[in-house]
Amino acid sequence: MKFEEIISNLTSKFGEEFIVALHENASPKCIEINANGLVEAMQYLHGTEKLYFDSLSCITGLDNGVEAGTMEVIYNLYSIPYGHHLMIKVKLGREQPTVDSLTSIWKTADWQEREVFDLYGVHFENHPDLRRILLPADWEGFPLRKDYEHQTYYRGIKVAE
C-alpha cells in the first residue's frame, strides 16, 4: 500500500487533525501523530486488514536537546504479508515524557520500551514491567539525553575523568 493511501486511511478513521506532520524525506516515510492517540492508531494499523502492520521492528528514543525541549519516540512498522513499511513518530515534552505502552499490541514492545526508558527516561504508561534493562538499577540519570552528565563515582570507582 502506498504512503498516501495509509494517510487517507488514517485521516478517514481519526480525522484530519490527528496527523501532526508528515516527513516524506524520511525512509521509510514517516507520520508524526499526537501521542494521546498512539495506541488507537497502532491498534488500527495492526488490526486493519489492508494495512496489517504485524511486525514492530524497532523503537527508537531521541532527545532533541534542552533548547527544543522535546523528545521523540519513533516506531518502525513493517507488514510481512504486504511488505510495506511505515515510520510513526510521537513528540513528547522533555520535562515529563510520557507515552502509552504498546505491549498490549506487540509483545516485542516490552523490552524495546524498557530500553528507551532506561536510556532516555521516557515513561511508558501501562507497561507491565518498567524497569531498567541495560544499566544497573541504581544508576543515576539517563545517558542518552543530550544534557546528561555522568556521576563521578559509582561505588567508589571513578567513572571517567
Binding site: 516527513h23 524525506n25 524520511a26 525512509s27 521509510p28 514517516c30 504485524d54 511486525s55 514492530l56 521492528s57 524497532c58 527508537t60 528514543g61 531521541l62 519513533i74 518502525n76 510481512i80 511488505g83 513499511h85 515510520m87 506487540w106 509483545k107 516485542t108 516490552d110 523490552w111 524495546q112 530500553e115 536510556l119 514491567d129 524497569r131 531498567r132 534493562i133 541495560l134 544499566l135 544497573p136 538499577a137 541504581d138 544508576w139 545517558p143 542518552l144 561505588r155 567508589g156 570507582i157
Partner: protein
C-alpha cells in the same frame, strides 16, 4: 595510587544494582529462585537468568541484561560514520562482517551513492559476509550441541571455523573484528589467491557439514532433547519481533536477503530453508537447529557463485581500486533513516538521524536481533523443565555483545 580506594564493598551492592524481580517471601510453597549466570557456560556470555522453579518445572524466567553494555549508541553520537564502524564490529562479534554490511548500506543509501559502488566490491562484500555467516552458525551449532551434552561437535566446529577466520584474517588483517567493509568501498581488494583458497575451502566444508548433520542432527539423544521442546508458533514469533533462523524455524519463509533484495543477492540463486517439523512440532528447537544447518549449505552455494563471478565477469584487474568510491566527507542530508539486513541471528537494523550539518549522526540506534529474540525466552520456557530451558536458550543463539550493545 596504592592507597586509593578502588571499590567500596557493601553486602547490598548486588541487590542495589541488579535486584531480583521476585521476592523470595512472595513465592508459593515448593517454589524457589535459582540464579543462573552471569558467569555460566550455558548462558553463552554474561547473561544472568533469574529462574523461579517449582521442583524441576519452570514457573518463570527473568533475564537480567547489561553486563556487557558498552554504550554503542552514546559512542556513535560523538563519532563520524566511518569511525563508528569498528564499534559496529563489536556488537555482534561473531558476525562482524554482516553488521558492517548493514551499517555501511545504510550510510551509502543516505548519501545516495549505493548505485555507484563497483560490482566487484559488492561481490566481495557478499563473500566475506557469507563466510562470516558460516562462522557464526558454526559457533551456534557447536555450542548448542555442547549445551545439550555433546562435547565432540564443538571442537569440530571450531576447527572448521578456524579456516574461515584465517581466510578473513588474510583479507582484512583481523580474526574477528575486521573493519573491512567501508562506506563506499572496501579496505583492500582480496589478496591474490584468495578466490582459489576460498573455493578449496568450499570443497572441504561440504562433507564436513554432512558429517556434522549425521553426528548431531540425526542423533537420537539430540532429537529427544530438542524435538517438541520450546515450540514457537509463527504468530507469537512475529508478535515478539523474532527474526532470522528462529522465525524461519517456525515455518515462515522470510529472509531479508530475498525480501529486500539488497546488494547482489538478487543475482544469486539460493533457497530459504524453513522448519517443517520433521522430528516434532513446527518451530521446536530441532527445527531451528536444522534451519541453521541448511543455511550453512546455502551460504556455501552463495559463496561459490560469487567466486565464479569474482574470477570471471568481475575478475581482478590492475586498475581496480576498492577505495575509488569511498567518499572523502560523509555528510548525508538531514533525514531519518532506518536500514535493515539479514544477519546470522536475524534482522539487524540501524536507525540514523542525520542533521545535514555534520559528519556525526545526531542519533544512531542499533536494533540487535539477539536482543529482540532473547525476549521470548520466558514465554517459551514456562512450564518446561530446567534442562529444557537450557536447550531453548541455546537454540535462540544469542550473542551478548549484541544483546547489551
Amino acid at each position: 595510587m596504592a592507597n586509593e580506594v578502588q571499590y567500596i564493598f557493601d553486602n547490598q551492592n548486588l541487590q542495589k544494582s541488579e535486584p531480583q524481580k521476585f521476592n523470595p517471601e512472595d513465592l508459593k510453597r515448593e517454589e524457589m529462585i535459582i540464579n543462573i549466570g552471569p558467569q555460566h557456560p550455558s548462558t553463552h556470555g554474561v547473561l544472568r537468568l533469574e529462574v523461579i522453579t517449582s521442583g524441576e518445572e519452570i514457573v518463570d524466567v527473568v533475564p537480567h541484561l547489561g553486563y556487557l553494555h558498552r554504550c554503542f549508541e552514546k559512542h556513535a553520537e560523538s563519532l563520524p560514520y566511518n569511525q563508528t564502524l569498528p564499534f559496529v564490529d563489536r556488537m555482534d562479534y561473531l558476525a562482524a562482517m554482516n553488521s558492517e554490511h548493514a551499517f555501511v548500506m545504510g550510510v551509502e543509501r543516505m548519501l545516495g551513492i549505493e548505485n555507484t559502488i563497483d560490482k566487484r566490491v559488492e561481490y566481495i562484500r557478499v563473500v566475506v559476509a557469507e563466510l562470516n555467516r558460516l562462522a557464526s552458525h558454526f559457533i551456534a551449532l557447536g555450542t548448542y550441541a555442547m549445551d545439550i551434552g555433546a562435547i565432540t561437535p564443538f571442537p569440530w566446529m571450531l576447527r572448521d571455523r578456524e579456516h574461515i577466520l584465517r581466510l578473513l584474517e588474510w583479507a582484512s588483517g583481523a580474526r574477528m573484528l575486521y573493519n573491512y567493509i567501508w562506506v563506499g568501498g572496501l579496505f583492500y581488494d582480496l589478496p591474490v589467491g584468495f578466490e582459489e583458497r576460498c573455493l578449496e575451502f568450499c570443497q572441504y566444508i561440504k562433507p564436513k557439514l554432512k558429517e556434522f548433520e549425521e553426528l548431531v542432527l540425526q542423533n537420537k539423544i539430540f532429537v529427544d532433547r530438542t524435538a517438541n521442546v520450546g515450540v514457537l508458533p509463527v504468530g507469537l514469533a512475529i508478535n515478539y519481533g523474532i527474526t532470522g533462523p528462529m522465525l524461519r524455524g517456525s515455518g515462515l519463509k522470510f529472509d531479508l536477503r530475498k525480501v529486500d533484495a539488497y546488494s547482489v543477492y538478487p543475482e544469486i540463486d539460493f533457497d530459504i530453508p524453513v522448519g517443517k517439523g520433521e522430528m516434532g512440532a513446527i518451530g521446536d528447537c530441532w527445527d531451528r537447529t536444522w534451519v541453521r544447518m541448511e543455511e550453512c549449505h546455502q551460504s556455501v552455494k552463495i559463496i561459490e557463485q560469487c567466486l565464479t563471478k569474482l574470477t570471471g565477469e568481475h575478475k581482478r584487474t590492475r586498475d581496480f581500486d576498492p577505495r575509488a568510491t569511498v567518499p572523502k566527507k560523509i555528510r548525508p542530508k538531514a533525514q531519518d533513516f532506518y536500514v535493515r539486513a539479514e544477519n546470522p541471528k536475524g534482522e539487524t537494523g540501524f536507525f540514523f538521524r542525520a542533521d545535514g550539518r555534520s559528519d556525526i549522526p545526531y542519533r544512531c540506534k542499533a536494533r540487535g536481533a539477539s536482543f529482540v529474540n532473547l525476549s521470548v525466552l520466558g514465554e517459551l520456557s514456562k512450564g518446561g523443565l530446567i534442562a529444557d530451558m537450557i536447550a531453548i536458550l541455546g537454540s535462540i543463539d544469542i550473542v551478548l555483545g549484541e544483546v547489551d550493545r
